[in-house]
């Protein structure tokens, strides 16, 4: 693979939106997860609770979608709060 191919692939990676996904963890308290969503994303309590319940009942919730760099920062913050969070390509 040539250098141009690598550059193109990296540009595509940065251009496509990425999901921030939070996965269920039976140890983390529901109130704690809600609080973390409010702190990290600035969500209102109702929206934070909606995502928390989705995590709890469906096993995962896409809590944010957007540019890769910002998504990485969000995943880092969520890990700092000990939540199981991953970065996923939307395509």
């Amino acid at each position: 693979m040539g250098e141009t191919d690598v550059e193109t692939k990296t540009e595509v990676d940065l251009a496509i939106p990425w999901n921030v996904v939070v996965h269920n963890d039976p140890v983390n308290l529901m109130s704690y997860v809600t609080m973390v969503f409010q702190k990290v994303f600035g969500y209102a309590k109702e929206k934070a609770q909606k995502h928390m319940l989705e995590v709890h009942y469906k096993g995962r919730s896409i809590v944010w979608t957007g540019a890769r760099e910002q998504a990485e920062l969000y995943v880092q913050r969520l890990h700092g709060y000990l939540l199981l969070a991953t970065l996923e390509r939307t395509q």
């Binding site: 140890v27 308290l29 000990l82």
Partner: protein, 163 residues
């Protein structure tokens, strides 16, 4: 024991029974995942699917050390606050946590609960059971500790949100 937010922007833990004081003193020691791969894996989980090898490599090199440092800093804040408790006590004690230390406490309590849960491999059903244990093996005691720390977490969240 009671936990409440005071007018002086403190989270006050009062009437702490000797056994509760002992569990609080032990809290930072349970946060260490050393020697237990499952605990280490849970505290420092992967940021992406294994197919995203580059993301995972970069994360391990640059982000994981920062997260490790964050966890250690939170524990140090809690250890400092815990110095208010006597090393051995047979009477009721009190502990005041400055409000800005609330996040460090929540983080440290979570570290301990996650390490204990991973180390003893508790199932979701066990963690959500509120039945009293029928035996008192080390595993039963660990589950009680997880639940005890959860109650403190809940009360600290209440105190932080009641401002």
């Amino acid at each position: 024991m009671f936990i409440r937010r005071s007018k002086r922007d403190l989270i006050e833990l009062g009437e702490i029974e000797p056994i509760e004081g002992e569990l609080l003193r032990q809290l930072p020691s349970y946060c260490d995942p050393s020697g237990d791969a499952k605990s280490e894996e849970r505290l420092f989980s992967k940021p992406a699917d294994p197919s995203e090898a580059q993301i995972i490599r970069d994360w391990e090199e640059f982000v994981r050390p920062e997260i490790r440092h964050l966890f250690l800093s939170a524990r140090q804040v809690v250890e400092k606050d815990l110095e208010q408790l006597n090393s051995v006590s047979d009477s009721l004690e009190e502990l005041s946590i400055p409000l800005p230390h609330g996040d460090a406490w929540l983080n440290t309590l979570n570290q301990a609960r996650l390490v204990l849960a991973a180390r003893y491999d508790f199932s979701e059903e066990e963690l959500s059971s509120h039945e009293s244990p029928k035996t008192f093996f080390q595993r039963d005691v660990a589950l009680m500790q997880i639940n005890f720390y959860a109650v403190i977490q809940e009360r600290i969240i209440d105190a932080l949100e009641s401002g």
